[in-house]
């Protein structure tokens, strides 16, 4: 039991902080900080800066560009990245398909994909959820039928995040409809988004933005070599991949920055003749969220320190659940600090309302998603009740 970082870790933290705040372009980090939309080119640029320094995929096997870091190093890396407003390496590439390829792909697939995946030369998207298979993912119906050397894929996916930017998709398909358990009989296929028969429909979200899509497959021919791992073992890979997704999803660094912004803005807003930050109830609200966030950060550190065996700690559900609640509490706080100014949401030139207040409500509305995606909070409670409390 020891509070201080070792001198080596202190130096590591300093190194990360310096790198992120000096090597990743300021304009990109400003966009992240102010919750504006980051373009595809900017995502790619930022990830390539990281990758060139070996900081895009540190959790991958060393031979494919990873670092042999401790969980605590990975934690520090992620937190510092968020605190510096660096767009995180694309999760679909680095946390999802990359580790799956590295663990379950054949050598040919590794060579073909991994380096380009780390460098965001290929932009991947996820073909998992379907209109009738959300939290109940195993009910998916998109089918892949073997026809000669190809799989022929038919069906529909949804909630495909940033699919509009994607070059390739990794896609769960039902390859054995006769399997006894619905979790069996699912396989993982990968194919380019410009394969004939693939069409994409963007879904407008509440904040007016487009970040998710429906993807339709009509007789899409996928070469047999694009099957990842074994046929009908796709569910295992999906579970492996979603476990990775949950790690780091607490987003403490990101919420911490939001909270620092909230304090700053509360100082600028005048209410009842004094800065809003001096209102005792506003100050207490901020202090309470901040303390909740500290508890979350310490729990993330505990979990990181205790998951050296590579498996996600069962308490990682706590991180997802509480992390999403605090992200939402922080975005709601910004709306309330903006107060009447929050109505000017799509103001452009000629408005006197500051940018942060304009984006506050769209951002708040958009962030209702964080307690839904990546395993909804109901799913997390089910995991805690079942696998931790034995209920």
């Amino acid at each position: 039991m020891r509070l201080r970082l070792s001198p080596e870790l202190e130096a590591f933290r300093e190194e990360m902080r310096t790198f992120f705040t000096t090597q990743v372009p300021q304009e990109i980090r400003d966009k992240v900080a102010s919750h504006r939309e980051v373009s595809k080119d900017e995502y790619v640029e930022a990830q390539r800066v990281l990758n060139a320094a070996g900081l895009a995929v540190p959790h991958w096997p060393v031979e494919w560009g990873g670092k042999d870091w401790s969980p605590l190093q990975r934690h520090i890396w992620r937190e510092e990245m968020q605190l510096a407003h660096v767009p995180e390496p694309l999760a679909f590439n680095t946390s999802m398909i990359g580790p799956v390829l590295a663990s379950f792909g054949n050598q040919e697939q590794k060579v073909r994909f991994l380096a380009r995946t780390a460098n965001l030369d290929i932009w991947w998207c996820q073909g998992f959820s379907e209109p009738d298979a959300g939290s109940d993912l195993a009910s998916l119906r998109t089918s892949a039928v073997r026809d000669g050397d190809d799989w022929v894929v038919n069906g529909q996916k949804t909630w495909t995040t940033l699919g509009q930017h994607a070059d390739w998709i990794f896609c769960l398909c039902r390859t054995d409809p006769t399997a006894e358990k619905k979790q069996r009989g699912i396989s993982l296929l990968v194919f380019p988004m410009d394969t004939p028969g693939v069409t994409l429909r963007p879904i407008e979200l509440l904040d007016g933005g487009f970040e998710v899509n429906e993807v339709f497959f009509e007789d899409v021919r996928v070469p047999a070599e694009n099957l990842i791992g074994e046929e009908n073992r796709g569910w295992d890979y999906a579970k492996f991949l979603l476990g990775n997704e949950r790690v780091g999803i607490a987003r403490v660094g990101s919420t911490k920055s939001t909270l620092a912004q909230a304090k700053q803005h509360a100082r600028e807003i005048v209410s009842g003749g004094r800065p809003l930050s001096e209102d005792p109830r506003m100050a207490a609200r901020i202090a309470e969220i901040e303390n909740d966030l500290l508890a979350l950060e310490l729990t993330a550190l505990r979990v990181a320190a205790n998951s050296a065996d590579g498996k996600p700690h069962p308490a990682s559900s706590v991180l997802k659940l509480r992390g999403s609640e605090l992200q939402q509490a922080a975005t709601e706080l910004l709306v309330d600090i903006a107060g009447p100014l929050s109505l000017a949401s799509f103001a452009e030139e000629g408005s006197d309302v500051p940018d942060w207040a304009r984006v506050a409500t769209p951002h708040y509305l958009n962030y209702r998603k964080v307690s839904i995606y990546g395993g909804s909070n109901e799913v997390q409670r089910t995991i805690i009740a079942g696998s931790i409390l034995g209920l």
Partner: protein, 387 residues
Amino acid sequence: MNFDYDSEQNDLREAVRGLLGRAYSDSEQRRAVVRTDPGFDEKTWSRLAEMGLLGLPFAEEDGGMGAGPVEVAIVAEEIGRVLAPEPFIETVVLAGGLVAAVGTTEQKGELIGAISEGTTIAVFAHAEPGTRWTPTAQGVTATRSGDGWTLTGVKEPVPSGARADVLVVSAVVDGGTGLFLVPADATGLTRTGYRTHDGTRAAHVRFDGTPAQQLGADDSPTHPDRTAAIERALAQARIAYGHEAIGAMDTALRTTAEYLRTRKQFGVTLNKFQALNFRAADMYVSLELARSLALWASMVQEAGGDVVQAADRARLTVSRASRHIGQEAIQLHGGIGVTAEYSVGHYTSRLTAIDHLLGDGDWALDRLAGNVTSYATVDPLGAPYTP
């Protein structure tokens, strides 16, 4: 003491529901309407006028229908039920209410009639980037100029400010806050409109030596302080928005319950999951408690009681309920709840807008807390709520 609508009120509700139900029978209709300026349907506005709804609370001698707060509440609730984007509260309750309360006979004759007929949209330009839900002006100043006045400064955000034909503007005068009328075509008036997250419109409005007419008799060199009249009009609008929120929450809850009954996951409908049902039950509790308080606030207004304090009370409870129900409605839907293509998220969006229009729950609580130890208990049927 009773909470029942009389038969005329029930008829009114049916008629409004019929009209708005046709105009916004599904959420795509509303999406199409709010996509283009002015963010509402001028034809629907005319139909509201034809039905007499735009003159509802005004005295008959001014060209209105002589109805009361309960009738206004009924219309507001039906607006909320389908998220009709027409600026009813902005024009009728706020701007119209100020004209009716403070205007001269002439001003009333001219404006109340035109508002009631639907030919003039008036809005209250009051919020400023430097103020926070105050009844006073600070950044717009009125200066004597010959027989009239000129205004200088900025109002923002002004709901429907770009579409409005007439602005009722609050401005700093010697000794307080005055009220002025500015027509849309006034010189020195710059309006920059934009869309807001809930699909409605707001504007940045700049006055640059803009000529303005004093609201009320301009028969003395000074302008009387209108802070109390503004506070009262804001309170009435808070109550009306409360009813709009009740209507929106009612739909959000019914939509959610319907989704739980029909949406299947894991081979069963979602209402087989007790945890979800219990959360829907809690939404119902929030809604019914807020409804009681909103109805009571309208009755206090009707009875001539302390409408400002009653409005604060309604505001607090409606705000808490709006957040609870708006957030849970999305969560219980899952991903579809945050899309613009499905209805329920728009209800959350509008509830969030209403909550921040004229003071949110914490703001109302601050005002109530400042007073809480000055009396022992609240008697909803006694002073100060009945005169």
